[in-house]
Each structure stands twice: as C-alpha cells, then as structure tokens.
Amino acid sequence: MTADSTPALVKQADAEGPAPAGSPAVRGPRARNTQAYLKYVAAKIFGAAVSLFAVLVTSFFLFRLIPSDPVKQMTGGRPVSAEQLDSLRRQLGLDQPMWQQFTSYVGDALTGDFGTSFQYHAPVVDKITEALPATLLLTGTAYVLYSALGIWLGTRTAWRNGSKSDRFNTALALTLYSVPSFWLGLLLIIVFAVGVGPIPGMFPTGGLESGNESGFAYVLDVAHHMVLPVITLVAVGYAQTLLVMRSSLLDEMGSDYLTTARAKGLRDDTVRRKHAVPNAMLPTFTLMFVNLGHVVAGQILVETVFSWPGLGGLFYQGLSVPDLPLVQALFFVFATAVILANTLADLLYPLLDPRVGR
C-alpha cells in the first residue's frame, strides 16, 4: 500500500474498517453468540463474492477501453504484412465479437484459466506465479518491517505525547510520508548504489540477484539487492501505521477505565501493556489488513526504479502493449488480494475485539 499509494489510500483503513460506527452493520457480534456470528460471516462472504465478480467484469472492460491495437504494438517496427497482422489477431482471439470474448473470459477465469499472454506467448497464470514470489519477498519484507516499526514508534510517541521525541518522530514520519517513493528510490540509488563523494556505491543498482551465486551466497546476494528498495518502502510506509497507532492509543489513554485502573494503583507500564495497547491495536490491526491486501499489488514505481522482477513491473509493462490477458488478470489478482484481506479482517475483528465477550 505504502509507497505508490497515496495518503488518500490511508483513509481506506477507516472507511473499510469493519462495521463503521453508526452503520447498521453488525457491531462486534459476540463470539459466544455463534449463530449471529455465522450469519455475519455468511453476509461478509457473500459481499466478498459479489465484489469479486464485479472486479472480474471491470477487469475485462476497463482495459478494452484503452485506445490501442495490441497486434500493431507487438509487432512494432518489424516488417509484417497485413495478412500476418490478421492471422495474429485471429490467434489472439481479437477478431471475435466483444460479447463472445467476454463470456469466454469469464468462463475461463472461473476455472482459473486467464488465457495466454499476448507478448510472452505463455499462460498468464504462469507469468503471474513466476513474478509473485519476487513481489511477495520485497513488499512482504517491507510490510513486516514498517508495520513493526510503525506500531513500536506509534506506541512510544503516544506514551510520550508532546515530548521532544514525540514531535521529532511525528514530524519525521510525516515528512517521509510526503516524499514520492520513486524519487526517494532514485536518490538512494545515486547516493548508495552509484556513490557520491566519500560514500562508496555499496549496493546493487537494481535487480533481484547477480545471477551467479548459489546456496547461502545466493540468499545473501538477494538480501543485498533488497536493501535499498526495502528502505525506500519502509521509509515511505511506516508513517501510516505510526500515526494510526499513536492516535488510537491517545484515544484509549483518555478513557475512563484507564484512569480508574491507575487510580487503583496499577503501574503505568502495566496499564499500558495490559489495557491501553491491546485496545489501541484494533484500528492498527485493521490498517495492517488493508496493507496486507496491497502487498500483492506490489509497488509499480519502486519495482520500476529498482528493476525488480515483480508483479508491479509486469503490470506496467503489460499496460503499454496492452497485453489484455495479462493486465486484466493482474488487475483481478490485485483487487482480489484486497478483498480477501478485508474480508479476513472483517471476520476476525469480532473475535479479536477484547471488549467483546469479557
């Protein structure tokens, strides 16, 4: 979610938050009340299924609006005859009427077949499974790091609200948050991959591996390649978690029960650890799930800047053809990941809410 997403996306957290306050949706059904919970689960799963289908339909039509001729783009600049173009079009199924293309797309997609990539002449599913690990590795690592960092710093800053360290950390996070990720990536490349002045270029400029290592050396090689992109993603991404954690903790700390607990003579630390933090974790938890959904969508910009062989780069490259089977499948996969993560959050939320069932 972080880098190439923008602050607006941040807002999804609360908008998507399970059972928004005031909405008629079930608010925190009790886990004990199994029947109500099952009903709630069924409703959520049905909603997710509807969303999935809507996304499937969108993915088909959205990219067909692009004013482009895939066949011409694919053969760009090479000697091809009109007959060849026609035959290519026939092979790609582009000569069929739109509705026929649509029904076969939906039919095939339901059985897990997303067709053959125009530009790679290989099943789209294969292309996606090839690029998925790279994306998961990069954005997944960054996700874990920035979530942990955000929660930790958020807790600390809230606890020391108003102190110098709070102000410094909040300001730093907000500033990094306002920085375009691709720009930060370019700067990091200049400074730490190429080297400036006394700073040697100590990291690779891009890619996932050098291509000539094996065994443990390979693991280190990949880790070495990951440093700069991960730093970029974490720097731009941790602010969100920090701010959410901080504000929900502040919110909690104002609650009456904490005052009571403290009045009863409980130590600050115990109050914080046992009561405030777990309660304040909920909104953060929601945000983390939303972010989790976006881990799959990868980071189009960061992947491009660092030549990372992941899904984001694949999508952007596919869009320029446009490689219709590839981009529509990727779009579907991206949206599906978000839907699944959100649904999961919705289902777990009532079970995790410590205020419920106590």
């Binding site: 482009s68 694919m74 035959s87 370019l186 040697p200 690779p204 730093i231 062989p309």
Partner: protein, 624 residues
Amino acid sequence: MVERVPPPSAQPRSRLRILLASGAAALALTAGAVVPGVPLGAAPQQAQAADSGKTLTVAVAQSIDSLSPFLAQKLLSTSVSRLMYDFLTNYDPKDNHAVPGLATKWEPSADKLTWTYTIRSNSKWSDGEQATAEDAAWTFNKMMTDEAAAQANGSFVTNFKKVTAPSPTQLVIELKEPQATMAALDVPIVPKHVWEKVKDFSKFNNDKDFPVVGNGPFVLSDYKVDQYVKLKANKDFWRGKPKFDELVFKTYKDQDAAVAALRKGEVSFVAGSPALTPAQAASLKGDANIKVNEGPGRRFFALATNPGAQTKDGKKFGNGNEALLDQKVRQALFLSIDRKTIIDKVFQGHAVEGQGYIPPRFSEYAWQPSSGQSLAYDPAKAGKLLDQAGYALKDGKRVGKDGKALDLRILCHATDPNDKAIGKYLKEWWGKLGVGLKVECLDDVSVPWYAGEYDLAFDGWSVNPDPDFVLGIHTCAALPLKAKASAATDNFICDKKYDELYKKQLAEYDTTKRADLVGQMQSWLYDSGYMSVIAYPNAVEAYRTDQIKSITTMPEAAGNIYGQDGYWSWWSAVPADSDGASGDSDSGSSSTGIVIGIVVAVVVLAGGGFLLSRRRRTTADERE
C-alpha cells in the same frame, strides 16, 4: 480530554535511544557508516570471472518476449536468435554486403524465379548432428504452412512458391515473383530433429530445455524472465569459437541503473534504449575504464503528413487537415524546421542532420537532395509559400480563405523523449509562422494513425541493409482494404510513379542499377513533402575497457555494437587481460559485495532485535 501520562524523565540516554531507533531507514543507512573502510567504488566487481572463464555481461532495457525464433519480435529476442541459430547469409561488418552464413553460395536462375543455395557441410548442431539443407527447407516450409510459425518472420516467405532440399548441401527456393532480397533472408534456421516434435508453435517458447540445441556462435544455456539470458560459447562454431566463454544479457528496466551498473563493473556493456542520453554519455566519458562508443544509427527520425487516408480502392477516410493536401503548405512547414538546432539541442550532437530517406550508414542506397531541391531552414520563404497557398497572416495567425485559422495536430509517442522535445520546438517555430500546433502524445499511436485521424506524426523506422521493407510501406499495395483496418502502409502514400519504381527495384538483381532506382524513389518522396527526415540519431553505447579489450563495430570504421545485422560484436569481442593486478582485486571485490551483504543483513537483523529487546528492557526497567 486526553489525560497525559507523564513521560519517563527525559534522560539523555533514553532520548538517544529513540533517536537511534527512529526509523529502519536510519538504521539501515547507518550500515553505510559501519563499513566505511571497504574499497568498493574503487575496484569494479568484475563481471564474475571466477568459476566459468570469461563472461561478457550486457545490460539491456528490454525483456524477452519469446526465445522461439518463430515468435520473437523484440530486438533483444531477435538478437539472441541470431546468436543461437545461423542464418543462410550474413552481412559484412565493413559495408553490409551479403556474405556466407549457413549457405556458402547462392544463385538465381535465368528466369529470376528459382534460387539455389549451397549449404555448408561444416556446421554442426550443438547436440552433434549435422546441419543440412533439410533443416533449412523444413524451417521455411513450416513457416509457409503453419500460421503460428509465421508470426515473426512470415513476411519473408509470402512470395515463396516451393522450398525443397534435393541434397543435404543444396536448398532450392522457387518464387512467385522475382525478388531481389534473397540474400537478405533474416530467418533463423532451426534443427528439424528438435523442432518437429513441437506441437503448438504459438505456445512453444523454447525456454524449458537447456542448453537449447543451436548452431550459432553461442548456445543458450539459461534464462530467467525479466532478469537474464545466458549463453555459452559454441566451441565448434564454423567461423571460430568466440573469445568470451559466456555472454549474459541482463535486464535493467531503468537506464540510469544500467549506467550505474556499468560504472561499478556489474556489467561490461550498456546498450542504450535506443541510445544513451547526451548527459549519460558525457558523464561516462570522464571515467577512465569506460569507452563511449558512438556510431551512425540505423534509424531515421522523420515527420509525416497525412496525405488523405484512403483504402486500396480509393475510398477516403479519416480527418486529416485539408490544408496539408497542398504541397506548398507541407513544404512551408518543413522549411521552418531548423534541423541544426534540433541536432544541437535535442540530440546534443549525437545525431546526423536528416536528408534522404535511407540513413547514410547504408552507403549503397543512401541518397541526398540536390542543392536546388533541398528544403533548408528558411522561415521567410516558408511564410511566402503560405501566402501563395492562400493562408494570409492575420493577428499572428495564418487564416485560410474560408476564414478558419490554420491549426494542426501532431501525433507523438509518449514513450519517446525525442518526440516530446522536438514537439516543443515545432510548436514555437510554427507558432512564429502563424500555425497553431497541438502535440498529442499517446502510448500507442497506431489507433488514430490507422484511422487517418491525424495531421502530422512523428515517424521513424529502423532500416535493414536491404531497403525493400522501408520502401514497400509507401506503395499503394500497402494501403488498407477497409477504412481504419491496420495495414502495412506507413503513411497512406499512394503514387503511380513511386509504385513503378518500387516494382522495378524489386526485380532488379544488379545492385548498382537497383541503388539508382532506390535513389529516384527517395527523391520523389523528398519532393512530395509527405515525409521530412529530421535526423538520423546515432547509436550511443558504452563498455568497460578493463573487461572488453576490443569489439567489432558495424560498420567497422565507426558503427554500433548492440543490435547489429549479424553476430559480429559478441562473436569478436576480446576479453581484457585479467592476469594483471586488476584481476586480483576483481575477485576480491566480488566477495566484498557479499561481505557488505552480510554486514547489512546483520545490521538490519540486529536493528530489529534491538528494537524488540529495547521494548522488553524498557518494561523491565520500569518494573524494577
């Protein structure tokens, strides 16, 4: 209201801790400070010489679309095909004339319709089998009979009637019409015994069984999507074994990243896409161990005007501005383009001023306008021509007889920085002339282009040693059958005189006579004002001289290295001496990279651990 919890007394220690931990970024960045002593930037990490002999690593911007020569369309993929499989003929690196490849000799019959090729007997497939005429015949027949196999190179066989192999060393091709391009069949010949097992050519990408059987100077040994293609030297290649043991094409989507990789020695060569930018070239020229190679390019960069889009049977369509149907208007526009400024400012000297249609690099067919014919920069004359054409200047705008201002559109490729830059200049130059211009940049210009919905367009083609293709795209035969259907035509030009010349040159087997006809065609094209060639951009690329001692450019005197017509550059590249001092430090610094990797990984892990333990310790502290 918030009940503020008093912060633990702000001892300097705890503040320091927070500052220290205030971001993973800061943490990992300190990694740089942890290893200041390692001489990294100083010694390039040799392109991995240690285990498998000499490796030549090439940074490319493209990714592979397919490794099957029947499907490959992109320049990188076709270049790799050329290294894997021998073609019937090749082009001489000095002057582009056809030289033997898999065929040692080729001759037309008296009626010009039958060509006989003698296939060499000293070419072996890498699995030990002999390469024969039968393989060639099978390759061509497959393309003629299987639509899926014709995707990439089908245009070469459309005029073929029959292809046979009467003996292992003899290939006979019968044609429907005479064709002068028979020594320029850029078709990789594949081993029949391997490829006849392939079921569906439209889905077979030739990237599963390594090494891939071939007979070119290199054998494909490994491939990872969007990452690299690896090739090993073919020891038995008939022209001789390449000097490098391994050739790797590594993908860098970002050109700056590729340049940085060259600086550090991660790669030996950077191919620009399509060229290094002037700023990149200038900055690389300062490096001691890097040579910037610049040679005349094979592309022309032109402006095309819409001559009124039409179908083969003359039905008009599209919405090109009718003012452009007047030759005077077209010439006026071209007269007000200062090509020299474009060369100086946009290309910053890395291009040659445009004249004829075919770049001067192909000296055999290149042509220049005579001094009387030339449309050199002359805004005053352009203004007069517009006056004559009936477009008078009114309040700074050219207004036609119908009272409408002359406003034009130009189609530009959004992905080409040169299009966008030159668009800015055109807008200002034509603005001074009184002509309005809207620059419309698209990722894919083909849709408005084939619909004829444009006034002008940035145009450009990569020209082959044989000019047939780039000439053919201006014939009436190339026009679309239906309105808006895609077709081979470049710019809807259709002219009887040009078509006649085209037919004549295709049937002319005498090179000098053919060159003369080609010159006449270019002269007609120049005068028509349908096309104006602005520049021939140079190929600008760079390599490390401490890794590559020498490499053949094409043309040999001053030419390009990447994307040649032939395998000359990679086949001829000689590795630099590695026994010297630099060799030692190379292996040292390659492990330095790993050391740094370990240090960084440790620092990041330690940082994470530190954060966690800090958390625990704080609680412990406070509990006491």
